[in-house]
Amino acid sequence: MSTRALEVAVGGFVATGLALLAWLAISVSGLDFSPSQDEYKVSARFSNIAGLKPRAKVTSAGVTVGRVDSIRLDPQDGQAIVTLAIRGEFDQFPLDTSASILTAGLLGEKYIGLRMGADFDYLIEGDEIEDTQSSLVLEDLIGRFLLNSQGD
């Protein structure tokens, strides 16, 4: 085998590998090469986030507008503080926007749904969403149902 053919084969092999890696990065993992700095963070307090995880989607009217950045517990009042990273292009959420924890399907993943309010000022970096609705916990629902049915 000539040196030339050998080099072409090896070069083709390496190039194929790198091209497929790029394909894996872009179309399989959905890697976005545009700088992700272009987002702003707002926080929201929930009394129960049951099952919400970092990197869960944040949607508005079903459209994904950002991701859950971090989840902490406020030791003072025992509430969960969820930080949402919202993409910079969606910068027109009114101050009185409400956030609720929703479930995709019956047993699916938890995500956050934002519903726009009517305020004229918009949420900016560091703001807090006041109006929140916590995760629906199935056990609580069943408990309440049992309690109610005992009264009959």
Binding site: M1, T3, L6, E7, A9, V10, G12, F13, V14, T16, G17, L18, L20, L21, W23, L24, A25, S27, V28, S29, G30, L31, R55, K57, G105
Partner: protein
């Protein structure tokens, strides 16, 4: 009693000496990969025989594994009405586990055994001794190019395997079983993270590449220079290489994905 102790000591010393020789080869191949009579150009033929020639078997295996994953995954997911997640299942399984592991097993059988046999025959026919006579270090001339070729080729082969597998999964899931193409790719992109899944899979493939080629070149350098010795060493390369891959995979997975 004393004889028993002596036998134990002898076998321990033998194992330790073997381990020492293996580490010497590794350290030499890593720290001084070239020198007099051994240029980096020696790498190309070795990448060709370890990487390019393994391409077909890796690509075909990847395709079929992806297709079977899609078929099996679909039949389970459809019971829960969540066949939309097929893309997620196929891609995560391939990128995190099957891509690196199965590629490494194939690599041990296809390329590792060839390396051992080649180096072993060189040793048996005293070519390695002749090299030393000429002042050429056999590790630099023979071992280092093969070692580095294996380390470079393994991640590339694992990428090919995963990509072919995902394509095979698409073929069966979307084109044959009728999963929605948008949901297939959308769920995949939403759940696959480049750093966590793709990069960790590549790190696994890289580590497996180091161990499989290391075992292969060591077995070749260290065999008993007879026909039987070559056959034994070749078998050991495949057996030890595969075992090392499977055991390492557990520990790597525990380190990468185990923080729950």
């Amino acid at each position: 009693m004393i004889n028993g102790l002596a036998a134990l000591g002898r076998s321990t010393l033998k194992q330790l000496a073997g381990l020492g020789r293996a580490f010497m080869i590794l350290i030499q191949a890593v720290l001084r990969p070239w020198g007099p009579g051994a240029s980096p150009r020696l790498l190309w033929p070795e990448i060709y025989s370890a990487g390019v020639l393994s391409l077909v078997i890796v690509a075909v295996s990847g395709l079929f594994i992806g297709m079977v994953l899609a078929l099996q995954g679909y039949s389970i997911l459809v019971d829960f009405g969540s066949e939309q997640s097929l893309g997620q299942l196929v891609s995560l399984t391939l990128l995190r586990e099957l891509g690196p592991v199965v590629t490494a097993l194939l690599f041990a059988g296809r390329a590792g055994s060839a390396m051992t046999a080649e180096i072993g025959l060189m040793k048996t026919t005293e070519q390695l001794a002749s090299l030393s006579m000429l002042g050429v270090d056999p590790v630099q001339r023979v071992v280092a190019p093969r070692f580095w070729a294996g380390v470079i080729s393994m991640p590339l082969l694992a990428i090919v395997f995963s990509a072919m597998g995902i394509w095979g999964g698409h073929l069966v899931g979307v084109d044959w079983l009728g999963v929605d193409a948008g949901a297939f790719w959308g769920n995949m992109q939403a759940s696959v993270d480049f750093r966590i899944d793709v990069v960790n899979g590549l790190i696994k493939a890289f580590v497996f590449g180091i161990f499989v080629t290391w075992i292969a070149v060591y077995q070749g350098m260290d065999l008993i220079p007879t026909a039987e010795g070559i056959s034994r060493a070749t078998t050991r390369t495949v057996v030890y290489g595969s075992l090392a891959v499977l055991a390492l995979d557990f520990f790597l997975t525990a380190m990468m994905f185990g923080d729950y």
